[in-house]
């Protein structure tokens, strides 16, 4: 007990130690607060989009004469939403720079899907500070500063010999010191997570325990790394520099290198090419035989094949047929782009094992459903919903039905599907195995540390 008190005193004695711990807590609180604000604005955006659309529908219904279906479809931009977990407030992932409530209408899908959120690029360049950042990148440095010089400091202060002379093993002493640091930092992390959960009213469910568990595992990794570095018995400066270099490589250089590799490997001008081709197809359609376009369309969408032939005047049904046919004209490219994106995601998952920081960051974003993977899933949902909207209008357009007020009220709503990450089951066993291995090496090596 006495030793414990002494250790606690030592831990909190250094100015730098205290400074680092306080800074860690402060930036954690700041990140939670900013994250809560950001998440709120996402939810407002999503909610407002549905309200605005509801208002528009009421406005249309309140008119004396309802618009013809073609014109109605042209102006009906229906909201969708990226179904996020509330944890998105803490692990923002891609949500800060992409649409979370994209609007979609019955015209060509490919001319709508590449719209982006308005961002201040300078803010993106700065890097963003969510709780994920604090846990993934700051936490290891806190662990390093508090731990990596433990043995060398003892040696330096001359206590090491003294400790060695004592009946109890050195290992248990160092082990206790490390354990104390682990517990202190762990409590801080738990404190941050609990206050975040309370502030954002996150339930203490499986997600909470997964995040806490994963963070603990991540902490064990860095503690084990620190212990292994210490076990070489070099001086404090060597230990600190080695630990810092490992951090730079794992947290900064490897993710950067993975990004470079992926953008080189999957460099795709597809969206631009698709857009350029779509524009030409849409435009050329006006000069081509309109009946031929319609025929080609009903060959694809046979449900509406009983439609009457076109007359001389402009007909909305040709317009929408030709919009859809131009989507079909670029379908191969879209499909290739989709495959390339899926392959990119796969490759990212694989490469993420190179760096625990990248791995942990990616896992947190996946958990909050904010990763690139879920962005793609959301875009797929938009595409599906686009089809629902198209089909809804086709009945009116191709069978010359008039829109009633009831039809406007029955306009299909976007139903967000629950999105689940696939193929992530290997992550937990793998990371546990790696961390366990690191821990074993660390224990074995620390046991062997000799007195100098």
């Amino acid at each position: 007990m006495l030793l414990f008190k002494l250790e606690c005193k030592r831990l909190f004695a250094g100015t730098v130690n205290k400074l680092v711990l306080v800074l860690f807590l402060l930036s954690g609180i700041f990140a939670i607060y900013q994250g809560a604000l950001g998440y709120k604005s996402i939810r407002i955006d999503q909610y407002k989009s549905t309200v605005v659309f509801q208002k528009e529908r009421e406005h249309v219904s309140s008119r004396e004469a309802l618009p013809e279906p073609g014109s109605l479809a042209y102006y009906a931009s229906a909201p969708t939403q990226w179904q996020l977990s509330p944890w998105a407030a803490l692990f923002v992932g891609e949500t800060s720079s992409s649409m979370v409530a994209a609007k979609i209408r019955a015209t060509a899908l490919q001319s709508q899907i590449y719209n982006r959120e308005i961002v201040n690029p300078s803010q993106q360049r700065a890097g963003g500070l969510d709780l994920g950042f604090v846990l993934v990148y700051f936490l290891p440095l806190v662990i390093g500063i508090l731990t990596v010089t433990l043995i060398s400091d003892e040696q330096h202060a001359g206590r090491w010999r003294l400790l060695n002379a004592m009946p109890r093993s050195v290992f248990s002493l160092v082990g206790k010191q490390i354990a104390l640091r682990f517990v202190v930092i762990w409590f801080m992390v738990a404190l941050l997570l609990i206050s975040a959960a309370l502030l954002l009213s996150l339930p203490f469910d499986i997600f909470f325990w997964t995040v806490l568990g994963a963070t603990s595992l991540y902490m064990v990794f860095w503690f084990a790394l620190a212990a292994i570095i210490m076990s070489f018995g070099k001086n404090s400066v060597f230990n600190s520099l080695t630990y810092l270099s490992s951090w730079v490589v794992l947290a900064l250089l490897l993710p950067g290198a993975v990004h470079l590799y992926l953008s080189n490997q999957y460099h795709s001008d597809a969206p631009l090419e698709i857009t350029l081709q779509l524009r030409m197809t849409l435009n050329d359609g006006w000069d081509q035989d309109k009946q031929a376009t319609l025929d080609a369309f009903v060959a694809k969408e046979s449900k509406w094949s009983n439609t009457a032939p076109l007359g001389e005047a402009f007909d909305w049904k040709w317009y929408y047929a030709q919009q859809h046919m131009s989507d079909i004209a670029v379908q191969d490219q879209v499909e290739a782009y989709r495959r390339s994106n899926a392959a990119r995601q796969n490759q990212l998952q694989k490469l993420s094992v190179l760096s625990p920081a990248l791995f942990f960051q990616l896992s947190l974003n996946e958990l909050a459903k904010t990763s690139g993977n879920f962005q793609i899933k959301y875009q797929q949902q938009i595409a599906d919903y686009h089809q629902t909207i198209r089909h809804y209008f086709y009945d009116f357009l191709f069978f010359d039905k008039q829109v009633s007020r009831q039809d406007i009220a029955d306009f299909p709503k976007f139903e967000p599907q629950t999105m689940v990450a696939q193929g992530g089951s290997w992550k937990l066993p793998l990371s546990t195995a790696v961390v366990a291995l690191m821990l074993m090496i660390a224990i074995v090596r620390i046991r062997k540390v000799k007195v100098i």
């Binding site: 407002k48 891609e94 520099l241 435009n283 990119r344 990248l358």
Partner: protein, 479 residues
């Protein structure tokens, strides 16, 4: 005195030369810088190639149009592409988060699409590995590793006392060591700049007389940045008892200045001066457009008045009697109103962006990292301001192009049976291609006016303080 400084400098350099770890680090950093520069160069060429090709393609598509109704051409539209700036291979700046192409069409202002920030929320937490980013983030760590023990180490090993007793003034020691670290910095960052100059020169047409000046300024900028870190390192090393403490403290300072603070400021600025999200922005523009009037509605008050005014101007009683096509006039008026409304809202967004940037730039003096980062992006034309300039140039081009088409509509198409008519295809050749006017150096640096002075003063002050009598007394008292 000068002799002593040189001697100390030489001695310091010689001792660093013996350290294998430092050699290893140096080699690795050089490698990293070269790889970063090379990949940046590849990206630049790729993107340049694509943009040029795409721009040529759309110009060709425009010119190849057959006889057409001008309004159809207005909906056919055009594209504006943003060529990467000549030095973007050195500093990628905000390139990853902004789009490279804008679709220009009638009645609607699109924003730039196709950014390359896929998985940015996972992979770009520290931005891209550009040469500038490595110099900004990793180079300071190396300076810290070089110098954290320079005074505290001498103190600990007792050599400081010996030096002092030999009559070496503390000032000479500081000056000598600073000089040696500066020399090392120059040796290690010069190759990247020379290489960058070579690459920039090989771009041929893109290489303007400004590029060497910009590179020279960049070099000076990063040297000042090095000086700042040298000063901080020596200051901490002189005031702290043991080298280990100096190292921990310096690393903490590095973390706060280059990683924590920029993020906190950017996040805070964003919530303090929030700009509108896309949905809100588009809704606001739409609602304002609705308020002004609907040109398709014959009873619309605004356009009724417009019609009456037009008829009065030409002294006729119906639009059919007008010598010009009234529909074309309405198109022109509609486009003008729409562009004005858009501009008003866009300006508001710009003001928010500016306020955010203004907020961050208040801290230039406290954290030179911020200043160097932003100044470097301005020099390489890769900052937000340059991107927004492209957006505005594209919008100006869109407006001029569409209005020229509306002019054709007014003068070359008769009011009767308007839709069935076409104008001759030779008209399409009279439209000028979109070329991005690259901003001059003076424009690039305009926002900094005098703010570049502050970080410089900070560096000078740090060195003055290091050389002050007070500091000297402290050291003498400690040894």
């Amino acid at each position: 005195m000068n002799n002593k400084i040189i001697q100390i400098c030489r001695h310091e350099l010689a001792s660093k030369r013996k350290s294998p770890v430092l050699w290893l680090l140096f080699v690795m950093i050089q490698l990293l810088l070269v790889v970063a520069l090379f990949t940046g160069w590849q990206q630049y060429q790729q993107s340049m190639n694509m943009q040029t090709k795409a721009q040529q393609l759309v110009e060709q598509q425009w010119n190849a149009q057959p006889d057409r109704h001008p309004h159809r051409v207005a909906h056919f539209g055009h594209f504006a592409f943003r060529p990467p700036s000549a030095l973007s291979f050195f500093d990628l700046g905000v390139n990853a988060w902004v789009g490279d192409s804008i679709f220009l069409e009638a009645h609607k202002q699109n924003s730039a699409n196709f950014a390359t920030d896929q998985d940015g929320g996972t992979l770009l937490r520290f931005s891209e590995l550009s040469s500038a980013n490595i110099l900004l983030l990793i180079w300071p760590l190396l300076i810290i590793a070089l110098g954290f023990a320079s005074v505290s180490g001498e103190k600990k090993s007792g050599t400081l006392r010996q030096l002092m007793s030999m009559g070496v003034p503390f000032r000479a020691l500081i000056a000598g060591k600073s000089l040696s670290y500066l020399c090392l910095s120059v040796i290690f960052i010069l190759p990247v700049f020379v290489l960058a100059l070579g690459l920039a020169a090989s771009t041929g047409a893109q290489f303007s007389s400004e590029a060497p000046i910009r590179l020279l300024l960049l070099f000076a900028l990063y040297l000042v940045y090095c000086l700042f870190w040298i000063a901080i390192t020596l200051l901490v090393s002189s005031t702290v008892k043991a080298p280990k403490q100096a190292l921990v403290l310096l690393t903490s300072i590095w973390f706060i200045l280059t990683i924590l603070m920029p993020r906190m400021l950017a996040e805070f600025a964003h919530h303090q001066y929030p700009h509108q999200k896309r949905n809100d922005f588009e809704l606001a523009v739409k609602l304002d457009n609705r308020k002004v009037g609907n040109s398709h509605n014959p009873d619309d008050p605004y356009f009724s008045k417009f019609r009456a005014d037009t008829l009065e101007k030409y002294g006729v009683s119906t639009v059919e009697e007008l010598p010009i096509n009234y529909k074309g006039l309405v198109m022109q008026e509609g486009e003008r109103l729409n562009a004005e409304i858009y501009k008003k809202h866009y300006q508001q967004q710009l003001e928010k962006f500016e306020s955010q940037q203004q907020f961050v730039s208040q801290f230039y003096w406290l954290n030179p990292y911020l200043f160097v980062r932003d100044f470097s992006m301005a020099l390489t034309r890769t900052d937000t301001r340059h991107f927004l300039d492209f957006e505005q140039q594209a919008e100006a081009h869109r407006y001029a192009r569409i209005q020229k088409l509306n002019q054709l509509h007014t003068h070359e198409i008769h009011h009767h049976n308007d839709r069935a008519q076409r104008v001759d295809k030779s008209y399409w050749q009279t439209f000028e291609a979109f070329t991005y006017a690259t901003p001059r150096l003076s424009w690039s640096l305009k926002v900094f006016s005098l703010s570049w002075f502050l970080p410089l003063i900070v560096v000078v002050l740090l060195f003055t303080f290091l050389n002050s009598n007070k500091m000297q007394r402290r050291i003498y008292a400690a040894v």
